[in-house]
């Protein structure tokens, strides 16, 4: 019996060692194909329709920190190239004068609705997300606003069901949806949306060693391409007829892993995800 247990343990150890050694050996960094943007979306922050003054203040803060803090935060998540705000962006709601901002100041608290996904909002510790681009940006924006208007607003994050975000805003359970929300005409009609703060493009990602081989859609005609099943990337691959063969993956991360292990030549995923994954490589 003792012998058997020793044997089993030895085996487990040997396998673990083999796997970890093999995994270390391969560090071929993927890269985003330069200048090939298949589709472009923009992320915005949403408030209840009519809360223009609140969104105006957020716009103002975003524009003011665009050149310093926003860069620092974006850099942390590999998203510097995706920033959509500049210090000369015009705040379209500058003239708003409703009482949504003053209400918030007197309440001393803003509730932000989020869902958990990296790199936007993740590592939830005791119901509070501790990491993520949107999480840190929201904190920075309200820090700026508190300083500028000598207010004392505390930021509270509330995890929501993504499909219920509009009703949550309407009902006042949350003041803002700040969670990689793509700006669409329908959302502009139904909610008050901030200036775009982040781009999310559908981009092609290839291995570094193939960067010169795959530069255009035309050059990818012999490639095996992949994307998340049912995603916007899949839509691009099919509508633009990219590659020789398409393989559907369970998630964007799985597609990325398949690229790294050379099962796929090209993947089409969100630029926010792509840049985050690449920034996580050693």
């Amino acid at each position: 019996m003792k012998k058997l247990i020793t044997l089993m343990l030895t085996f487990v150890l040997a396998v673990t060692a083999c796997i970890s050694l093999a995994a270390c050996g391969n560090t071929n960094k993927p890269v985003v194909v330069d200048g090939l943007v298949l589709a472009e979306e923009q992320y915005g922050i949403a408030a209840k329709k009519g809360n223009d003054a609140l969104v105006s203040k957020i716009n103002e803060a975003l524009i003011s920190i665009a050149d310093d803090e926003m860069q620092t935060i974006a850099n942390k998540y590999g998203l510097t190239s995706e920033i959509a705000v500049k210090n000369d962006t015009v705040n379209p709601l500058a003239a708003a004068s409703d009482d949504s901002w003053t209400n918030l100041v007197s309440r001393n608290k803003v509730v932000i609705g989020y869902t958990v996904f990296a790199p936007i909002a993740y590592e939830v510790v005791e119901d509070v997300p501790t990491k993520g681009y949107d999480i840190e940006l929201a904190k920075a924006v309200f820090e700026y606003l508190n300083e500028t208007y000598s207010s004392n607003i505390v930021v509270e994050f509330l995890e929501i069901d993504w499909n219920a975000k509009e009703t949550m805003l309407e009902g006042g359970s949350i003041d803002l949806v700040w969670n990689g929300l793509t700006i669409t005409q329908e959302r502009i009609d139904n909610m008050c949306i901030s200036v775009p703060y982040l781009y999310n493009k559908q981009v092609a990602v290839v291995l570094n060693q193939n960067a010169n081989k795959y530069k255009t859609i035309e050059s990818m005609k012999d490639a095996i391409v992949g994307a998340e099943d049912g995603s916007a990337g899949e839509e691009q691959i099919q509508s633009k007829n990219i590659g020789k063969e398409y393989v559907a993956c369970d998630s964007q991360l799985q597609a990325y892993q398949q690229l790294k292990t050379k099962t796929l030549d090209v993947i089409v995923i969100d630029s926010v995800m792509a840049n985050y994954y690449i920034s996580m490589e050693k």
Partner: protein
């Protein structure tokens, strides 16, 4: 919602499910027999290898095994799957499907081996001895005396595994195989209704119903020899 479109898509997925099922079954039964012999071998290294293999395969999730098989060429031999398909001149879908088959064959081979081992070991030792006394060789004893009893004895437990196999084919989706369940999920995403999953359930149910009837028939056929 177009019923014909749903049926067509589900049938496409069902084709892959049946193919995966058939290939696994055909290859896993002989492999199971081989591993069963190995586990009973008197030569220690072979016995240890087979018992170890059964332990590892039964002790880890099939989902993980399917995924790992697709990664073996890269992590072990540092050859990308893209290189393999350009060398063999096949489609990536075919290669991934083969990987899924391989993982299923090994996994089910191990389960079958234990069923077969149990069946072989349950044959009374006296029958081996009687064969020897009659001057039969080991091969003759196995083919003429033992094999049929083994088939008969393993039929009921194996039918259990085989029915599980039908449903386990859904796990092949991790390797990019579009089988019945995945095609149903696609339809759910397309039409935003859950009914395709229900239709998929009916497909599985009918398939398993046919198998159940087949096994009942086989058991009846073999019941002429009562112990």
């Amino acid at each position: 919602m177009d019923f014909i479109i749903i049926l067509q898509n589900l049938l496409n997925g069902f084709g892959n499910t049946v193919l995966l099922f058939a290939i696994t079954l055909i290859a896993a039964l002989p492999l199971g027999l081989l591993i069963a012999f190995g586990s009973m071998s008197k030569f220690i290294p072979i016995k240890a290898f087979c018992r170890g293999l059964v332990w590892v395969i039964r002790g880890t999730p099939l989902l993980l095994q399917v995924l790992l098989v697709t990664l073996v060429p890269f992590y072990v031999f540092n050859i990308g799957n893209t290189e393999i398909i350009s060398f063999l001149g096949i489609k990536m879908k075919t290669l991934l499907f083969s990987y899924a088959c391989l993982a299923f064959i090994i996994n089910y081979g191990c389960y079958f081996s234990e069923i077969i081992r149990g069946a072989i070991e349950s044959v009374p030792k006296g029958q081996f001895e009687a064969g020897k006394v009659l001057g039969m060789t080991k091969g003759q004893i196995f083919r003429k005396v033992i094999l049929f009893q083994v088939i008969k004895k393993s039929l009921a437990p194996a039918s259990n595994e085989i029915i599980t196999l039908v449903k386990d084919t859904a796990l092949a989706s991790i390797a990019g195989v579009i089988e019945l369940y995945t095609s149903a999920e696609h339809l759910v995403n397309q039409f935003i209704v859950l009914t395709p999953l229900l239709y998929a359930a009916i497909f599985y149910l009918i398939f398993n119903g046919v198998l159940t009837l087949l096994f009942a028939y086989l058991e009846k056929k073999m019941s002429f020899y009562k112990e």
